[in-house]
Symmetry: C2
Subunit: 217 residues, 2 copies
DNA sequence: GAGAATATAAGTGTAATCACCTAGTAAATA
DNA sequence: TATTTACTAGGTGATTACACTTATATTCTC
């Protein structure tokens, strides 16, 4: 029996190393590579062609979405499993839209991670118990959410994540290599779309689970 | 050689289970219990008297601080190692003030976690490479921060709650019937005490799960 | 009573946010 | 092809936040 070849993309070294350890410790799995960045994961996947990719999207969900979509083109045989701390539906839906075959949260059990890997490797789809409990039905076709005034663009999502981290416009501009005026334009549009009066309210909205799901994307 | 008896307090099941697995997989360690809540960790420690406690303080730092302090009274023989995603000095200092013997971040390596457990079990102190790189010197005696450097007064708590709601200084002043300059003075003191750079970071800190108001920081 | 902590609030100045405007390019869509 | 949307980025001006200083009255504690 061939071992399932796995790539791990997870930004926290300790988590990455422990997962690598326990998966390599299991005769069914073999971690062929690991990295801390989702973009790097795409490059590695293009060369190593792992059968399963564990993609953490916690800190930079947008990068995770993009990377998943890119990965599907450079290595369509690799099945991506999304991993995050939260079970926000929009993240789950976005990941499946991007081509992911599975999604588990960090409240899943260790056995569920094994199950997920085996399921997607066998050509199936998998979501963890926590997300199923929230009514996510993997058998239903992806719903086309209507675009409305409350939906943010990818750039706006990315910038709102930066705002949430306490970054200033100047710092965001440097980080994303765009003009501070562009950042300010996006900020203004974000506040307008979500109908909040300032960045503090935006962060409060993002941090309130229901609010984030309901309004952010 | 007796195995080192370990208690794990970590709110994410997947992380908790993987750590339990790899530690139990090592002949030097034995995980005697694990829990998802720092308060529960105190109760367990009082009975099981673990030699080392891995205390995740990521999502609920304040609970983690209090639990560490309580743990030192109900089970002084247990050495606490703080664990978090971030290497914020405030958290590190707070944890050592509360009686922790070690601190590692989730950017540490797996070996560093082992080292930390062995070090505190042997009666020493330990901080991970990432925190040492930021200039934290464990050999120095604990700096006596000005008495209430980390504790907010009632007024400051009241005002920080208003900030959280997205209220501006002017609005807070009107609501509390005080001068806007007084509000600004309080805001400045709040940011200084909690060592955050702006109100957004303050709100993020407050919104980290149970918030801080309950525990008056 | 002396000292410390708290709450109050003024001044001064710098930096950041926010509102509103215009406007070009590129990509997707009708 | 024409239109829309997203992303870019400049200008202007008002408002707000933040840093730092000084100062007074009160309250609590040593």
């Amino acid at each position: 029996m061939e071992k399932i070849r796995i790539l791990i993309a997870e930004d926290h070294k300790l988590i990455r190393e422990t997962w690598t350890f326990i998966l390599n410790n299991d005769s069914r799995f073999s971690v062929v590579a690991s990295c801390s960045d989702s973009g790097e994961a795409v490059e590695i996947a293009a060369v190593r062609k792992p059968e399963v990719v564990l993609m953490d999207i916690n800190m930079m969900p947008l990068n995770g979405f993009e990377a998943t979509a890119k990965l599907a083109t450079v290595s369509p045989e690799s099945k991506v499993i999304g991993l995050s701390f939260y079970s926000e539906m929009l993240f789950v839906k976005k990941m499946f839209s991007a081509g992911a075959k599975g999604y588990i949260t960090k409240n899943s059990s260790r056995e569920e991670m094994y199950e997920a890997i085996l399921a997607v490797h066998a050509g199936g789809l998998f979501v963890c118990e926590e997300i199923r409990a929230q009514g996510f039905d993997i058998t239903l076709p992806p719903v086309n959410e209507p675009a409305n005034a409350f939906s943010l663009t990818n750039k706006e999502i990315q910038i709102s994540q930066c705002i949430r981290q306490g970054l200033r416009s100047k710092e965001i501009a440097d980080k994303l290599n765009i003009s501070i005026k562009t950042v300010e334009a996006h900020r203004h549009n974000i506040l307008r779309k979500l109908q909040v009066k300032n960045s503090i309210s935006l962060v409060s909205l993002m941090n309130s689970k229901n609010g984030y799901v309901k309004y952010s994307f």
